[in-house]
């Protein structure tokens, strides 16, 4: 059974191996998932979870995954906005967990927007 003891062991292991992460600083990339009712019903939760997993797998320390309410485009949900510091916001639509790895590697890591998943391509 998982326990708080185990959490303590995690703290000790993680704290000794890294510096405390600098989350939410001005130099962080933000991934914002629309979590209004329509977003959740359309599948926002597994998309958010896939971003969290992918960011963890690649050990990206300056990426924050957050949520917002309604983005105002129900028929294109799940919607994800990516804010890279110093660049224009990019809106990805009709998201699925399958699309997440490509957005993380191409856009967030290598700076190349995945045009085919954006709102521009869908309209």
């Amino acid at each position: 059974m998982k326990s708080l003891e185990e959490l303590k062991a995690i703290r000790e292991r993680v704290q000794s191996s890294i510096n405390i992460r600098n989350e939410g600083g001005a130099d962080s990339t933000r991934v914002v998932v629309g979590m209004a009712t329509c977003g959740i019903a359309a599948g926002a939760r597994p998309v958010l979870a896939a971003f969290v997993d992918e960011v963890a797998r690649r050990k990206l320390e300056h990426v924050m995954v957050t949520q917002t309410g309604c983005i105002g485009i129900c028929r294109l949900e799940p919607v994800v906005e990516v804010y890279v510091p110093g660049q224009e916001k990019v809106t990805y639509v009709k998201m699925t967990a399958d699309k997440v790895a490509k957005i993380v590697s191409d856009h967030i890591v290598n700076g190349k927007v995945v045009a085919e998943y954006t709102i521009g391509a869908a309209e």
Binding site: M1, K2, L4, E6, L7, K8, I10, R11, R13, V14, Q15, I20, R21, E23, V33, M35, A36, T37, C38, I40, A41, R45, P46, L48, A49, V52, V55, A56, V65, T66, Q67, G69, C70, I71, G72, C74
Partner: protein, 182 residues
């Protein structure tokens, strides 16, 4: 919505929008009474009596981007279509309690679904909010408290990947345990 855990995620978004600092989620199952109860309590802004009276009507929302609110009417419908019940108490400045009761064995009752992913999503997107998740099946109980977790974690952020993994594993393992298998 095909999982109760998705309704929970959605109803908690209302508490987050109402700037709650503490949010409690209770999922209580009683096989003998054939009932499953979901309660979400928050200490957010609360609702005026007028809003409260109208909030189960799917044309009421205080959002500005669209004219109808769906979250509360959907949960009410889901509970009532299993022969259950639904109620809300709310007071401005105090907070809100949403209570949905389902008939456990009813064919239209959705499964609880992936509560681990719901808790992970809530913790990662709201690291500053305190969540308490209480799960009960018959006499067996499980509780996850972010306040307790933060005491143990010291300065390590609750949204660290290793901690989120622990949250998911803990919720999943306890769910199995509560349902009799390990």
């Amino acid at each position: 919505m095909n999982e109760l855990s998705l309704h929970i995620l959605d109803i908690v978004q209302n508490s987050v929008a109402a700037r709650a600092k503490h949010i409690e989620i209770d999922v209580l199952e009683d096989k003998e009474k054939d009932r499953l109860e979901i309660r979400v309590k928050d200490d957010g802004a609360g609702m005026t009596p007028e809003l409260l009276k109208n909030v189960t009507d799917p044309f009421v929302t205080t959002r500005t981007t669209r004219k109808v609110g769906l979250g509360i009417p959907l949960l009410k419908f889901a509970a009532e279509s299993t022969g259950g019940s639904f109620s809300i108490e709310s007071e401005v400045g105090k907070g809100t309690v949403i209570d949905a009761v389902f008939t456990l064995s009813h064919i239209d009752r959705a499964p609880l679904g992936n509560m681990a992913e719901t808790m992970e999503s809530l913790v990662v997107t709201n690291p500053e909010i305190e969540f308490t998740y209480k799960r009960q099946v018959g006499e067996k109980r499980f509780m996850l408290s972010t306040e307790e977790m933060k005491t143990v974690l010291g300065g390590l952020p609750i949204s660290s990947p290793e901690v989120l993994m622990w949250v998911k594993d803990t919720v999943n393992e306890n769910e199995k345990e509560l349902n009799g298998g390990a």
